[in-house]
């Protein structure tokens, strides 16, 4: 349900939330955040501090302060300040306050009208210099007013799990080439456990009616807040502008943080607000040209789709191939700024088809974290690469043994996400194969992917059990995607993924043998691969147990014994809760002995393996959908894709919009039991793009060809998606009656593409290929 306080501009790029109340604090900060993959700065105005969850989260700053949770740091807020108007501090409140986000240029804004003046505030994370965030506040007096203005660095910051800084030092220095700007105020810190040096810098510039105002020197207002303070008497019509620049570097960035801060701040004050905005905006324009999806006929779907694309991209480390995409991106510290399977399965597809370099970064990150995955495997008695369920910089497991508490007993619960949820490894293999199929980038596979694939296959083999009496490999004691059921065997999704991973490893091994035996020998030596191991993988491909559709009902059992569990629906199970805060899953939650599942599992299998007859997919969709509680934000998008595939377009649309608005219309509590659970569900953001492209446009790679089987919701006139396939740009437009596929590259490459399938018909690609295809009509 759309929040009534939210509105969109007619152009479809600007989201406004009117009438602020304190309940909106968390969602505004998350939804309207700015970022660039290096840092995330929550969508918070000048005057907000730790109580309002103001935060700048910086990538690659992992530290553990409480002995349990290794997480990214929030750094001192160098865009902090205060406005006192006629003696009263300005505070966001009521109908006069509008918060918003301009998706076209990645710009947070707040406007507010007071009796004396109008406030127009903007906040941007620079897309050129990723270390820079800038804020501008413009006051326009409608009557004479006396103003006190403060701006500086607030080091009293919000941090989820303890204070990460054991050392903190303040410094002030002049900025030689900065006419009329303040000096550089710096806060230099070091993390307590990981010993990372961080420097945060601040500079300010004030203009009155366009003229720079000479700054006062820095005032220490208290232990934790340093900055400037200045008074003004405005006449009606006066315009007072405050420009604030924040730079942040860590010692992980490869340069001295203090030097980095100096350079960034110097550049910022030299360039000035307009120039910075101009350059950053250009980057956003390039991005949207390559990525924007047009939905005609449904303004809400249009804007919310852009919102999700925006959040997926600002979460992704385009500047580095050694960093993960956090499950909450850089919107907060929740989920430790670390990667889950979300990264490959939900975040990656958009990049794979719009900006493959970012997809490559993500996969290269898994290559660089192989040592951590090997350590985890070895610690648990396996070989190869058992990737961390929660993966930070090193790839070592960040998921603690105990994280939930039984609210009924106060006792901690031992969940097994960290040792039983093995599908993470084959999921990564799956993503590498998808990357190769979509990009044709064999060089990446030779250089990095092959070793990852081999180590994953090796892990899978060492984890599998062979049942001699049944002549098959089985997986034992798992969590599948449905995390309410731990300790299950032969989770169908996992077994198919393992087969896929072993097949991919064999295929890459054989291609290397043929095309680049030297490189193969290098890898073989490097990881001590025995020739017999590839036979093991082949044997797994042939003899792993793959649960088949039942004769009666065509259903695939989610795991061994699932159909014997109590058959109830989520609402009945919810009624059994003695406390609304109870965990539903392992070991004793209300869902455990029932068929109620947390999220798509067999349905996820279909999303990733469209190898089952459509009637089977339909039967399973109809069976599992009402039994799914959607306790994970990953769930609705997968249901949307399969709903579209089985031609249930209305449900597909509903699932899509549910997924598309999970953050923007968020009505969940942002803080539960004292724990912050707000922040952006970046996987759902990535999934939005995936549903549109793989679900509604119905894109699929089949035998190396593009295939489209579109299903257009009745609400839409058309959908247009730009994408890249094997290095060439395309654009596909689906209407109810036809499919238009346009080639955007050098025309001489058109013939490189073998064939295109639209529905079941093969076509030869042309610069513009328009084919009649009924993608609307009556739902099955």
């Amino acid at each position: 349900m759309k929040k009534t306080s939210i509105s969109y501009d007619p152009g479809g790029w600007i989201i406004r939330e009117t009438g602020y109340t304190p309940d909106d604090t968390v969602s505004i900060g998350s939804n309207f955040m700015v970022g660039n993959g290096y840092l995330g700065y929550r969508g918070t105005p000048l005057e907000w501090g730790r109580e309002q969850y103001a935060a700048c989260v910086v990538t690659d700053t992992y530290d553990m302060a409480d002995g349990k949770w290794r997480e990214l740091c929030t750094v001192p807020n160098a865009l902090s300040g205060r406005l006192v108007i006629d003696g009263a501090a300005l505070e966001a409140a009521g109908a006069d306050t509008v918060f918003g986000l301009d998706l076209a240029e990645g710009r947070f804004f707040r406007t507010q009208e007071t009796a004396a003046l109008t406030v127009a505030e903007e906040l941007v994370a620079d897309q050129v210099d990723l270390h820079l965030v800038a804020r501008r506040v413009v006051l326009t007096a409608v009557r004479p007013a006396s103003i006190t203005l403060q701006a500086g660095i607030d080091s009293d910051i919000w941090s989820l799990n303890g204070n990460h800084f054991s050392r903190q030092q303040w410094a002030v220095e002049a900025l030689p080439q900065a006419d009329h700007a303040s000096g550089l105020l710096r806060c230099d810190l070091q993390t307590g456990e990981s010993r990372i040096d961080i420097s945060v810098g601040h500079a300010a510039r004030i203009l009155l009616n366009g003229q720079p105002v000479t700054n006062e020197s820095v005032d220490i207002t208290n232990e934790s807040w340093h900055g400037i303070g200045q008074d003004f008497s405005l006449a009606a019509g006066d315009r007072l502008e405050l420009e604030l620049y924040m730079a942040v570097y860590s010692s992980e960035d490869g340069i001295d943080p203090v030097a980095g801060v100096r350079t960034s701040i110097q550049r910022a004050v030299s360039s000035g607000w307009s120039q910075l905005m101009h350059e950053s905006r250009e980057r956003w324009q390039q991005f949207w040209e390559a990525t924007d999806i047009r939905i005609e006929g449904d303004h809400e779907a249009q804007v919310t789709t852009r919102f999700n694309i925006y959040h997926n991209v600002i979460a992704a480390p385009r500047h580095s191939d050694r960093l993960p995409i956090g499950a909450r991106g850089l919107s907060c510290q929740a989920y430790q700024g670390a990667a889950f399977w979300d990264q490959e399965i939900f975040n990656m597809p958009m990049f794979l088809y719009t900006d493959p370099g970012v997809a490559r970064n993500i996969l290269a990150y898994r290559y660089h974290t192989l040592p951590g995955a090997r350590r985890k495997a070895q610690r648990l008695g396996y070989r190869g690469a058992f990737y961390a369920w929660i993966s930070g910089k090193t790839g070592d497991e960040l998921c603690p043994d105990y994280f939930f508490v039984d609210v009924l007993t106060g006792r901690r619960i031992r969940n097994h996400f960290n040792d039983w949820q093995i599908h993470i490894s084959p999921d990564i293999a799956y993503a590498i194969w998808e990357y190769l199929e979509a990009t044709g980038d064999w060089e990446f596979v030779e250089q990095m992917g092959a070793e990852v694939l081999f180590e994953i296959a090796r892990f899978c083999f060492s984890h599998l059990y062979f049942k001699k009496d049944k002549d098959r490999y089985e997986t034992i004691r798992l969590l599948g995607p449905d995390e309410y059921h731990e300790n299950v065997d032969n989770n169908a999704f996992t077994n198919y993924q393992i087969q896929f991973a072993c097949r991919a490893a064999v295929a890459v091994y054989e291609r290397l043998q043929r095309d680049n035996p030297d490189r193969l020998q290098e890898i073989v030596r490097q990881i001590g691969l025995e020739p017999a191991e590839t036979d093991d993988w082949r044997d797994v491909v042939d003899r792993i147990y793959l649960p088949q559709p039942t004769l009666a009902g065509q259903l695939i059992e989610q795991f061994d014994g699932y159909f014997q569990l109590e058959d109830v629906f989520p609402q009945e199970v919810a009624a059994r809760l003695k406390d609304p805060g109870e965990y539903w899953g392992w070991p004793n939650g209300v869902a455990v002995a029932t068929q109620v599942l947390k999220q798509a599992d067999v349905i996820q299998l279909f999303v990733q393996h469209d190898a089952f007859p459509i009637e089977v997919q339909k039967a399973n969709y109809e069976y599992y959908a009402p039994r799914t509680q959607h306790g994970s934000s990953l769930s609705p998008s997968s249901y949307a894709i399969i709903a579209a595939r089985v031609h249930n377009r209305q449900q597909a649309y509903d699932f899509f919009m549910k997924s598309n608005t999970v953050d923007l219309y968020n009505t969940n509590k942002a803080v539960s039991g004292g724990t912050f659970i707000g922040g952006i569900h970046t996987a759902a953001c990535g999934a939005s793009w995936k549903v549109l492209f793989n679900g509604f446009v119905g894109f699929e790679i089949e035998n190396s060809c593009m295939r489209f089987r579109p299903r257009l919701p009745d609400q839409w006139k058309s959908i247009t998606v730009p994408f890249v396939f094997r290095g060439q740009p395309y654009r596909v437009t689906v209407t109810a009656g036809d499919v238009l596929l346009e080639f955007g590259g050098d025309p001489q490459h058109i013939t490189d593409l073998p064939k295109v399938l639209i529905g079941d018909t093969e076509y030869t690609m042309q610069e513009s290929l328009r084919v009649p295809f009924a993608s609307g009509g009556k739902d099955d």
Copy 2:
């Protein structure tokens, strides 16, 4: 700690408990019960009813009244009555009341002195006619007194899990050959679910100063109580005797229950009390001659040992080879009157070496319940025979999925005793092999044992997983003997037992092939055995993973990962309980994530497989003992055996006495949370004999020879154990300085025995072989 209210006669056969208080109600009824393997009648006086847990439990009457618990029935109490003395009903109370048990003749008694008279009451379960129980009450007036006497059948009976009778009918008939006895009063019933007909009969005879008194006719006193009532005026010195006879039959006994009751009651009243007592006592004498263990120098150990032998024998079905020994025998309905692994591992050894026919019955019962074990295996996806964790008449699993409730949440707990505690099957194979070794009864193996062994090996193979990367079979997702840790892999005890079971199956297969190929072919056809299956079993023998002692510390890990669990002791874990009633085990109990174990597990492995160097056994004993909570009554006896073996005689003695007195000195609550948990721990009773013979006498079969490695506690001058080995009777006496082995059979058979090992020295058997051997001395 000895209960101060308990005393023993100097002869060592009579136990008395003086000064009854209501707290003793349950333990007196259990400890002083009478029985004969067909029925158990709790040690309760005439006037006790359901409130005092008076009960007659009858074997082979399984019925399920509550949809959950299938259990034996308690039948109407046909030895019920009341004595009113000068207007006040006689009630057991205070210092004047003595309850007791005469072990020599299986006789419960109560004596009581009132102001007017002395009461001497006796109760016996007949050993000739197993359907008969008799009670006599003798009143001797010390001053004139008026007496009202009632005797009859009380059908308002105590039943643990619901009323088992859907039909109940009363009848009275004359007893033609019963001078001066009452008529036969009958209560005929039918069980509601299992449709078993049961008939209970009652007759009474009253004598005043030795002269029979003519009976009144039956009075219906109320709906549920039928019987006679009669008044007497006694003069000082008068002696009034009341003889009551109860007979019970069920339609499972193979004759019409009503006809059976008639015959038994007729015989009883014809024979009369003295004759019945005489015949029954003779049976007890024969029994004790073959079974009594003499302990010189420790009266308490002597009497309590007899107490345990007594309870082991009255629990055992010597009359049938189709019935189990209940975990609480016939002392109550708790544990459903059904067999656990206790039966083979703890109850059987005494019979194996004193009355092998009973051991054969027990094992034949497992043969007859093969169909139930096959059904369980099939239902859970296995082949062969997966024996029930709780096994009643048919061998189908009686253990429900849910039986504990989490006291902190009120939620039921899913325990996996019924599907993960697989060692029950190889335990039965182990017992069959032990039976063959001890008795040489190959005919039993041919006829029954072989098929059981094959089906167990088949089950084990179908349960095992093969780890190709480790080239070994593993067991996955188990409960071992230590039931606090469910869901473990490679429980050492279980893996060794499986190897043993598969080796036994192969050995028997090969011997049949050689000695009786026709019978082998019959079995092969019967169970569809493929020749390749025996290769599978051989492969398991060769390649099952057998956890070995660690290099550092010589410890065997109880299961994979045990040593990684939190290393705390039971008392620390107990301090974490939020409620004293919390279950310690799976899935969330206080012991689960710790090394605290419920009962002997690796130590049990040593009890059954004395194949580890003594230093290894010692190291493990010292490691596991302080970590064992002994939450099971099976635990101390196994620790006692290994303590003796590693020459820690004082601890062995302490563990032995703890086990030996678990029931007699019971200070546990008998009723917990409304659930009756009293009753006799029959496995501990059987274990008592086992500790003496295998622990202190140190008996072991090694390469088909008897071996003795005695360890005599300092408290004892000597211990003498009669036993049967390969059909020949022996008697062994151990003193601190020597071992005396006497042969009690036909002297010409002495030479049949190959050799005897005492300590490490070989001897040739003689009619009387006395060998110096230091079994006392300083503990290691």
